[in-house]
C-alpha cells in the first residue's frame, strides 16, 4: 500500500507538479515562489491521506438503465457484497456520490440525463463504463438510437467489458479504480477537473449533439443574412 502511495510522489519533479497546479501553458515560464512550494508540499502531504480515504469509500450512484443494472444490483447483494470495499452506500442523489457506473445502454434520449448527472456529481468524480453497450455500443453498435460509447459524451476512467460483466468483474473494476485513485494527486486532480470538460452535450428533444444543432443554426442565420 505504501508503494502505491509513494508512486506519484517520486515520479514527478516539483516544478512539473506545481505547473499543473498553475496552468499547463505557463508551466515553463513561471518561477516558483515559496508559497507555491508550500502549497505543493501541503498537497503532497494531504494527498496520500485523502487518496487512502477516497479510494476506500467510493460511493456509487444508483444509475442503471438495463441488464448491467441488474448485475450492479447483484453485486451489492449477499453473494458478492460490494460492502466489503465500503461501496455499498448506493446514493440516489448525484450530489453525494463519487462514481457513476454507467450500467446499461445509453441511448440518445438518455444521454442528456447522463450528462446532467455527471455534471451534478461533486468533484472528484469517476466513471466506470460498464458493459459492451457503454464502451462501444456493443451489440447495438449500429442502432440508430444508441450512443456508441459513453466516452463520446463524458470522460471515462475504467472500462469494464462484458455483456453483462459478472458481478466479480465489477468488483475487479472497482479495485482498479481504487488503485487509480490512490495514485493520483488530489490537488492536481481538482485543478484539472475544472480545466478540461470533455463533455459533449446532447439535446433531449431531438437526440443530437448540441454542437451540430448550433452549427446548423449558425448556417441558417448566415444564409439568411446572405440573402438579405
Amino acid at each position: 500500500m505504501s508503494e502505491l502511495l509513494n508512486n506519484d510522489l517520486n515520479s514527478t519533479d516539483l516544478a512539473r507538479e506545481n505547473a499543473a497546479l498553475i496552468s499547463p501553458e505557463l508551466a515553463d515560464t513561471v518561477t516558483l515562489t515559496s508559497i507555491d512550494k508550500a502549497i505543493n508540499m501541503l498537497s503532497q502531504i494531504v494527498s496520500p491521506i485523502a487518496n487512502l480515504a477516497r479510494s476506500n469509500s467510493v460511493w456509487p450512484l444508483t444509475f442503471g438503465t438495463s441488464c448491467c443494472a441488474i448485475e450492479m444490483m447483484c453485486v451489492g447483494m449477499s453473494a458478492f457484497d460490494i460492502s466489503r470495499f465500503g461501496s455499498e452506500v448506493f446514493r440516489a442523489t448525484p450530489r453525494q456520490a463519487d462514481l457513476i457506473i454507467t450500467a446499461g445502454t445509453i441511448t440518445r434520449k438518455m444521454a442528456s440525463a447522463l450528462i446532467t448527472l455527471y455534471e451534478q456529481l461533486p468533484e472528484p468524480k469517476y466513471v466506470i463504463a460498464m458493459g459492451a453497450c457503454t464502451i462501444t455500443g456493443g451489440m447495438f453498435n449500429d442502432s440508430y438510437s444508441v450512443v456508441q460509447g459513453v466516452d463520446r459524451i463524458i470522460p471515462v476512467d475504467v472500462y469494464l467489458p462484458g455483456c453483462p460483466p459478472r458481478p466479480e468483474a465489477i468488483l475487479d473494476a472497482l479495485l482498479k479504480l481504487q488503485q487509480k485513485i490512490r495514485t493520483e494527486n488530489y490537488a492536481k486532480r481538482r485543478v484539472q477537473a475544472y480545466q478540461q470538460r470533455p463533455v459533449c452535450y446532447v439535446d433531449y428533444d431531438c437526440g443530437r449533439p448540441l454542437e451540430d444543432l448550433l452549427a446548423m443554426a449558425m448556417e441558417d442565420t448566415s444564409l439568411a443574412l446572405d440573402q438579405k
Binding site: A111, D142, D203, D205
Partner: protein, 179 residues
C-alpha cells in the same frame, strides 16, 4: 444501411372467408382472406372499414375479440401494412386484420394516414403511437399522437426500408477502435 434490395416476402393467394370474415360480411363489411400467418385467419380490409370492423369485433358477443395484442406496421417498400392481432380473453380463436396503405412517394417523409382506434380501445393508444414513431403511419383522430420511443423531435421513421441513419459525433466510427 441500405435495405431496399431485401427481398419482400412472397404474396400469398386469396382464400375463402373464415369464421370472422363471414361474421363481418354479415354485418356489411367486406374483407378478403389472405392466410399469410400459419394457422391463423388473416383478413385484409379497407381503410374506411377498419374502425367499424374493430368496434364490432370487440364488442359483439359473437366474436368477443376483446384483446388487442399488438398493432404492427410493416413497410413493403410500395405499401405499408397496419396489422392488428386480435385475441380474446374468453376463447381461443384469433384473428389477424391487415390494412394495406399504398405509399404516395418514395421519400422518407411521406405520410400514410389511417383512422385511429385509440378512442374506443385504450390498448391501441400506445401501439399506434409506436407504429407512428417507427413506421410512420399517421393515425388520424388519435388523442395524443406523439413520438413515444424516439426523442420527440426525431427525424424520419426508422423502420421504413429507406430510412437513412443519422451520423454524428455520437455514432460515427469509433475513433478508438480498430474498426
Amino acid at each position: 444501411m441500405s435495405q431496399t434490395d431485401t427481398n419482400k416476402p412472397n404474396e400469398t393467394k386469396e382464400m375463402e372467408l373464415g369464421k370472422f370474415g363471414k361474421f363481418l360480411k354479415d354485418n356489411g363489411i367486406d374483407s378478403t382472406r389472405k392466410d399469410d400467418s400459419i394457422n391463423v385467419e388473416t383478413i385484409v380490409i379497407s381503410v374506411k372499414d377498419l374502425e367499424p370492423a374493430l368496434r364490432l369485433l370487440k364488442t359483439s358477443s359473437e366474436t368477443k375479440l376483446n384483446m388487442l395484442l399488438t398493432i404492427s406496421g410493416v413497410d413493403y417498400t410500395d405499401r405499408i401494412d397496419s396489422i392488428y392481432h386480435l385475441w380474446s380473453y374468453d376463447h381461443n380463436d384469433a384473428l389477424v386484420i391487415k390494412v394495406e396503405l399504398p405509399k404516395q412517394s418514395q421519400a422518407n417523409t411521406d405520410t400514410v394516414n389511417l383512422t385511429s382506434i385509440a378512442n374506443f380501445w385504450s390498448a391501441a393508444n400506445w401501439h399506434e403511437r409506436e407504429t407512428y414513431d417507427l413506421v410512420g403511419i399517421r393515425y388520424l383522430r388519435h388523442p395524443y399522437l406523439r413520438r413515444i420511443l424516439n426523442p420527440w423531435d426525431w427525424e424520419g421513421h426508422p423502420l421504413r426500408r429507406d430510412y437513412k441513419q443519422l451520423v454524428d459525433a455520437l455514432n460515427d466510427k469509433n475513433p478508438h477502435s480498430f474498426r
